[in-house]
């Protein structure tokens, strides 16, 4: 009894937090789920019933496989558990099949794979120092960071209501960041390479990784004033990093290269035909651009400066995913967005190269890369804001300035996720969870930096 008491009351606040949020996720099982649910069911079916050579060609359902091969193997592994729940979900022809057992299995698979995220948060807590530690448990930075990450509102509603598998993917990213903080660079690089082959959206932050590893790992020493010492370049390190990336990519893309399917895979992964903005506009620069274009075209029509016959019929506000042309302002091509993104990333990359500030500087650069890509990228989903919010949590418990930026970013970012859940029963849920997270983040960070 006493042993149980120690386990419960003593130092295991982390387990209590993790268990608490897991229970909340179980309560969210009967909520609304989006088409992403069907997407993943379809991928379970594809990977289970078809041979590898068909995976990236299968098109019975409109939700074709558009994640890199590691994710496809992940779905394959899941499908072997799925067959004990409901065999019917693994039939490719069963479009929109969602029996209660299927729902239970899918929801539990997300909850279960979140274990990697919990482990990653645990590792991240080790990396932040407790200089500002108060005497009370709830005022320690570790505690606050754990709550901000484990109970993150955006992750909860995107993963456990809308339905996606971001939990364990962000776990991989946070784990690689933690490893870089702990100076285990090879592991960090390996984890990031693996992550890229799970979901290629993390390419948004690849420049930060590349530049940091090159500058702070391959060049083993700096001059006294902090600038680069060219003769400390270590070929061994460069080659080992390259080898890691090469081996991981080979493992992932190798089979498809052997089958001569690489162009098909790449076309599935990078579908540039999908248009500048997603069906629901992500709140980025191009949304403003589109809005301006629309306003100008209306003004132009009113003032009779434009010929109504010349205006293209496809409207960007119709909620469909397709390409279209702008009417007044110049149309935007994927190359243009890439250039804008790179230009936006440049200041932070330069800082990382010329004035490296260790892992913390890398983290800042990562966040800025994520934000730049979010603002100027091609076909960005609003869920991509989580790529900036979650790493920012790590910085927020360090300095007061970072905390205030974090609060603005996270509150607006989470609010921008509201349109994802548009059904009536989810309205109180999302409002309550948002209030909960916002109240906690504001009051805990305020208390920390009193």
């Amino acid at each position: 009894m006493a042993a149980l008491g120690i386990a419960m009351g003593g130092g295991n606040w982390f387990s209590a937090l993790a268990l608490g949020v897991t229970l909340l996720k179980c309560l969210l099982i009967p909520t609304y789920h989006s088409t992403d649910f069907e997407v993943h069911r379809n991928w379970l079916a594809i990977t289970h019933s078809l041979p590898v050579s068909q995976w990236y060609y299968e098109a019975t359902s409109e939700w074709t496989l558009d994640y890199p091969p590691f994710f496809a193997w992940f779905e394959y592994a899941l499908s072997h558990v799925a067959k004990y729940f409901d065999q019917e979900m693994l039939n490719v022809r069963n479009l929109n099949y969602s029996s209660s057992r299927t729902l239970l299995f899918q929801r539990f698979s997300v909850i279960f794979t979140d274990a990697l995220f919990v482990y990653a948060v645990h590792e991240c807590c080790k990396c932040i120092d407790g200089k500002k530690a108060g005497k009370e448990l709830t005022e320690k930075p570790k505690f606050i960071l754990s709550v901000l990450l484990l109970w993150n509102f955006g992750l909860l509603i995107v993963d456990h209501i809308h339905f996606q598998y971001n939990g364990f993917l962000f776990g991989l990213m946070l784990l690689s960041i933690a490893r870089l903080f702990q100076k285990r660079h090879m592991e960090g690089a390996f984890l990031f390479a693996v992550l890229l082959h799970f979901k290629h959206i993390y390419l948004y932050v690849a420049p930060a990784y590349g530049v940091y590893l090159l500058r702070s790992y391959c060049f083993t020493a700096n001059k006294p004033d902090g600038s680069i010492r060219w003769n400390s370049f270590s070929f061994v390190r460069v080659i080992s990093l390259g080898l890691i990336v090469f081996l991981v990519s080979a493992l992932s893309l190798g089979p498809f290269l052997a089958l001569n399917q690489l162009p098909q895979v790449l076309s599935r992964l990078f579908p540039f035909k999908r248009g500048l903005c997603h069906a629901y506009w992500a709140p980025n620069f191009w949304a403003l651009y589109n809005a301006l274009d629309k306003v100008l075209s209306i003004i132009g029509l009113e003032l009779k400066l434009l010929d109504p016959n010349k205006i293209p019929k496809a409207s960007m506000t119709s909620g469909l995913v397709q390409q279209f042309q702008h009417t007044v302002l110049p149309s935007v091509t994927p190359l243009a967005t890439l250039i804008c993104t790179l230009i936006a990333m440049l200041p932070s990359i330069f800082c990382l190269w010329f004035k490296p500030q260790g892992p913390r500087g890398f983290l800042r650069c990562l966040i800025l890369c994520a934000l730049s890509s979010f603002l100027f990228g091609w076909h960005v989903h609003e869920k991509a804001i989580l790529l900036a919010v979650l790493p920012m949590s790590l910085l927020s418990v360090g300095k007061a300035g970072d905390a205030s930026i974090f609060l603005i970013l996270t509150t607006t970012g989470h609010y921008s996720l509201f349109p994802l859940l548009f059904t009536a029963p989810e309205l109180p849920t999302k409002i309550l969870l948002m209030l909960l997270f916002t109240t906690y983040s504001i009051s805990s960070l305020k208390t920390l930096f009193r």
């Binding site: 008491g5 419960m8 229970l23 179980c26 099982i29 005022e139 109180p428 849920t429 909960l436 109240t439």
Partner: protein, 523 residues
């Protein structure tokens, strides 16, 4: 962090859990012709909106009392009328006379669940928050943790937001009553409690402690002076509030009598369905015919042939109930104290639950509320009791397909209590408030030193039994000859637990003042 920030977070957590539980099924969902409590509440909105007040409690062609006739006091009827006005505004089909029977839709479910949430938010939750803030001699963090545990109590959440009822209104009013009376706002407290009784007549389980406590206060102030004035004022408040609530029904004798007949159906049996009280549990011994001696069987069979000896059973039940709660009530009248009041609430409600007639399994909530109030004083035993009370409703919750919310909320509650109060470290005799009792016993039995050890082992056995029974009920099918086997087992096990708790709480009440007085002498 500041107190009100923490309280806000706790309330938000409570509301989130409540709303997510409400996304599940409700009682009688998709089960014509009678459906369940959800349909009953919808039907009452229909009746109160469409019919004049005089016809609410009477049988007529428009109001068939056999189909969920109104059997709660007038305040419930007024609340239903208020909800009906809102329903009319959104979609009149929901309350159309006759044609809306069995109406089920996603939008309607959303509406009904929202009415429960609003009632909870306005009445019960503020009472809980205020109660925890008014607790004496504990730190801010413990107050907030206390509020969290009370708000996470699974039984109330599952019945109100799962099965579908409005218990939070009557329990909330009762809690305001407890608050008022404990803080010496006796008139407001008794007004709130009268409102509670006029919402659900089961609150009468709590009436004796209120009466004894207030009477005791009057005695203390002296019956010749201030005490007498207080007594008169209280009597006037009670009478006035009852008249106010029953105003439309006071005009004719027949109206009042009919309402009373609906509230207290004396022609119904000793117990309905399976409930964890004495009468139901012992009825299973009827089945063990060959074991009992012959004449004993006849007596029992005679007792249970209800057509023949109604009055005998009523009297029996009356005696048992009052014998078990008399000591505590007498003590409360002679020595009124806030702590004694709360423990007497527990003991009285538990006695009524165990020995009264026509008890529903949901009535355990009337015991759970006072136990929540003493959570900060005896966290270990209170948590244990609250877990058992949730478990005792297992058959009902399984019928409503609430297994997942049941498991999740129970685990969440257990973790919240275990981390907030470190309950496993607080099992010494002193913390269980059994010190004076065991000292008295040791005068006769010097070796009686292992009380807390026994209780710890009992707790372990109890939890294992409850988990096993839950697993068995969920996974296996009962044998064909005994289709109710699992429900009866659950009732029987819960009943044993409740008897144990009845003894325990009575011990605390009776042995309490001695230790209090001794402490004062020592200090």
């Amino acid at each position: 962090m500041e107190k009100w920030h923490l309280m806000t977070i706790v309330v938000l957590i409570g509301l989130t859990v409540r709303w997510t539980v409400s996304l599940n099924s409700y009682s009688g969902a998709g089960k014509p012709p009678m459906f369940g409590d959800y349909e009953a509440q919808r039907h009452w909105q229909e009746i109160t909106f469409n019919l004049p007040i005089k016809q609410w409690y009477f049988n007529s062609s428009d109001n068939n009392l056999q189909y969920w006739g109104l059997d709660y006091p007038p305040l419930t009827a007024y609340h239903s009328l208020l909800c009906a006005y809102v329903a009319k505004f959104i979609n009149p089909d929901w309350i159309a006379l006759h044609t809306s029977r069995g109406y089920e839709s996603q939008a309607h479910k959303l509406f009904m669940r929202t009415t429960v949430l609003i009632a909870d938010l306005l009445i019960y939750i503020p009472a809980v928050v205020l109660y925890c803030c008014c607790l004496k001699e504990i730190s801010t963090k413990k107050k907030v943790a206390n509020a969290l545990c009370i708000l996470l109590y699974p039984g109330l959440i599952l019945i109100d937001y799962g099965h579908f009822q409005y218990n939070s209104v009557s329990l909330g009013f009762a809690l305001w009553g407890v608050l008022g009376v404990s803080c010496d706002w006796d008139l407001l407290g008794s007004l709130a409690f009268c409102l509670a009784i006029n919402y659900k007549q089961m609150e009468l389980y709590h009436s004796l402690p209120f009466f004894c406590f207030l009477l005791g206060k009057c005695f203390k102030k002296g019956l010749k002076g201030k005490g007498f004035v207080l007594l008169i004022k209280l009597a006037c408040t009670v009478v006035a509030s009852f008249i106010l609530c029953w105003l439309p029904f006071c005009t004719e004798r027949e109206q009042t009598l009919q309402v009373l007949r609906r509230l207290f159906p004396v022609d119904r049996g000793l117990f309905e369905d399976k409930v964890a009280n004495i009468w139901c549990s012992f009825s299973i011994f009827l089945k063990i015919k060959e074991i009992l001696p012959h004449h004993f069987q006849i007596i029992i069979r005679y007792c249970y042939q209800e057509n023949k000896c109604f009055i005998f059973i009523r009297f029996f039940s009356f005696c048992f109930t009052f014998l078990s709660l008399l000591p505590a009530c007498v003590k409360l009248t002679l020595q009124p104290s806030s702590k004694g009041f709360r423990f007497t609430l527990v003991s009285c409600a538990l006695s009524f639950f165990l020995f009264s007639f026509q008890v529903h399994e949901k009535s355990i909530l009337l015991v759970s509320l006072p136990v929540c109030l003493v959570l900060s004083e005896i966290p270990f035993m209170s948590t244990w009791f609250l877990l058992v009370s949730t478990f005792s409703m297992l058959p009902l919750l399984l019928k409503d397909e609430l297994l997942m919310p049941l498991v999740v909320t129970t685990i969440a509650f257990f973790i919240a209590c275990a981390t907030s109060f470190s309950i496993f470290e607080k099992t010494s005799e002193e913390e269980l408030q059994l010190k004076s009792f065991s000292l008295s016993v040791r005068k006769y039995l010097p070796c009686f030193t292992f009380l807390s050890r026994i209780i710890q082992y009992l707790f372990l056995i109890s939890v294992i039994t409850m988990v096993l029974l839950t697993l068995i009920t969920v996974t296996l099918d009962p044998p064909q000859k005994l289709p109710d086997l699992f429900s009866v087992l659950v009732c029987f096990v819960s009943c044993l637990h409740f008897l144990f708790f009845l003894v325990y709480f009575n011990i605390i009440i009776m042995w309490d003042s001695k230790s209090g007085r001794n402490q004062k002498k020592i200090n």
